[in-house]
Assembly symmetry: C2
Homo-oligomer: 305 residues x 2
């Protein structure tokens, strides 16, 4: 269905604020279809985005002031609040009718708080946390969980469609995307931790790693994460570890958001809490910047698989 | 490959010791191909097996004394030891060359201990724990993880092939099947517990249960158990709960075996331990005989999904 709210003859301008692990490949993908204006506090990241055609903007306001859509890919809720509403926040300079597209995972409450403060500014917020790593971001192959008013979502639709192969509108309020993402991350984090415990136990039992992985993945024990991270856990003891596709400290953050939500809502979650502790142990042991499959080294520091 | 060790012209005699949730449907399936002799301490279970053609034997020895293969489907390692080597144990009356086929999940150590005691008796042990519930047992559609000496496995092969659609020989020693099954149950138990926590959180966040389940199962959060138990967790609040396909107290037992193994081998497993506690809570709250999907009611006693 063609989107009615955007003039098809005019090239959309998209600002990308935050050119990190996900922001940079998204800027790359968007530069193929749109006029992209990139900002990051690190000039080296801006230079990387500029190679693919994104304008190198020295301030967030410079990037956002002429944008139809301002994609925000920051690390956490504090950075979100600062980027939008802080002393140099972009909302003050954004054109009326422009849309903030938030792709970061920051939790429901942080998004609701910002959305409340945007009311009356003429700037709308679409909540669009992602699933899928940097490679899929660069290929426009992300799963995007969208929460927002339908007219605001329509304004961001060309950008969503360029980034995602599956764009699921899960609710009409900013924060609804975060809600589903929070549940998603509970499962993903626990499944990675379970795969690590399972493979560490298999090694201690003297089982062959690859054969056991194959036998288990085919049956009731299978999960996306066992199939995806399991083989990388077998590489976790190689020189330099597995290639970093998703940093271990992302699950420290995301299981922290899960913990905040379950505590606030009074939902016991001992299994997710135990998984969070494993990732915290990994971070405390200096594995935060490694691929999250390195969590197996918390359980079994020496290669046995 | 045709099995060389069994006279193809003679009908194999199979004793089934233990006609419980899994033993009864296995006896039913085997009665289609073999002369089956059934024993259970409960005469009512023997009568049920007799309907399908299994001989109603009043003692285990009566069932086993003329059997080529003695399938043992008991609850735990203690019952295994008793059935084979206790005062009325069947090993003393089994023909030389007969094979004990153990389908119960009892852990590596229990099987190794029994196998050691069988050395020199002329009776061999094949370790063959199962994955798949009663329905798949009745249809011969189980996943069977086999550990045993190749010649012993060959002796049990016709029975294994009648019961399983996937028969994977994972090692040459009795106990090797239990090792893989232990790792399998760690993953299955944690995945069920994670699904329960995820769906309880989704409900508390105000999300729609079926829609959230569908969105999550399609992505990185997906698992066999989320797809299989998730919908049954949505039924867990219905009158009488979900149909009992696998009892909750099975995971109390199996995660207990996981805990024994990880403790013995010094493999930390905080996530599996937390999952075990959830199932123990369920058992303590009287949910042991319900379907394991009822574990969600430990986290959220009232329906919110």
């Amino acid at each position: 269905m063609p989107d009615q709210s955007v003039d098809q003859n005019r090239r959309l301008t998209v600002a990308v604020l935050g050119l990190g692990a996900m922001g940079l490949p998204m800027a790359r993908r968007l530069s193929q279809d749109f006029a992209v204006r990139g900002f990051d506090i690190d000039p080296a990241r801006r230079a990387l985005a500029a190679v693919d055609g994104a304008a190198d903007c020295r301030t967030a306001r410079e990037a956002a002031s002429a944008a139809d859509v301002v994609l925000v890919a920051v690390r956490n809720g504090e950075q979100l609040e600062q980027a939008l509403l802080g002393g140099e926040g972009v909302v003050a300079v954004m054109p009326a009718g422009a849309v903030v597209l938030l792709t970061s995972t920051v939790g429901v409450e942080a998004v609701r708080a910002v959305a409340d403060r945007l009311a009356g500014t003429g700037v709308a917020l679409v909540d669009a946390p992602l699933s899928g790593g940097p490679l899929r971001a660069a290929q426009g192959d992300l799963l995007i969980l969208v929460g927002g008013d339908p007219s605001d979502v329509a304004g961001a639709r060309p950008v969503l469609d360029a980034l995602g192969s599956t764009v699921t509108v899960v609710g009409r309020r900013p924060g609804d995307g975060q809600a589903v993402k929070t549940v998603n991350q509970l499962l993903c984090g626990v499944h990675i931790a379970a795969a690590a415990e399972a493979l560490a136990l298999a090694a201690a039992l003297g089982l062959d790693g690859p054969a056991t992985l194959e036998a288990l993945q085919a049956g009731a024990a299978g999960s996306f994460m066992l199939g995806n991270r399991g083989p990388r856990m077998l590489e976790a003891y190689d020189e330099g570890g597995a290639e970093v596709l998703s940093r271990l400290d992302i699950f420290v953050k995301d299981l922290g958001i899960v913990g905040d939500a379950t505590r606030r809502l009074g939902v016991p979650s001992p299994v997710a809490a135990a998984a969070e502790q494993l990732f915290l142990l990994g971070q405390a042991q200096g594995l935060g910047a490694e691929d999250d499959s390195a969590v197996i080294r918390v359980l079994a520091p020496e290669r046995r698989l």
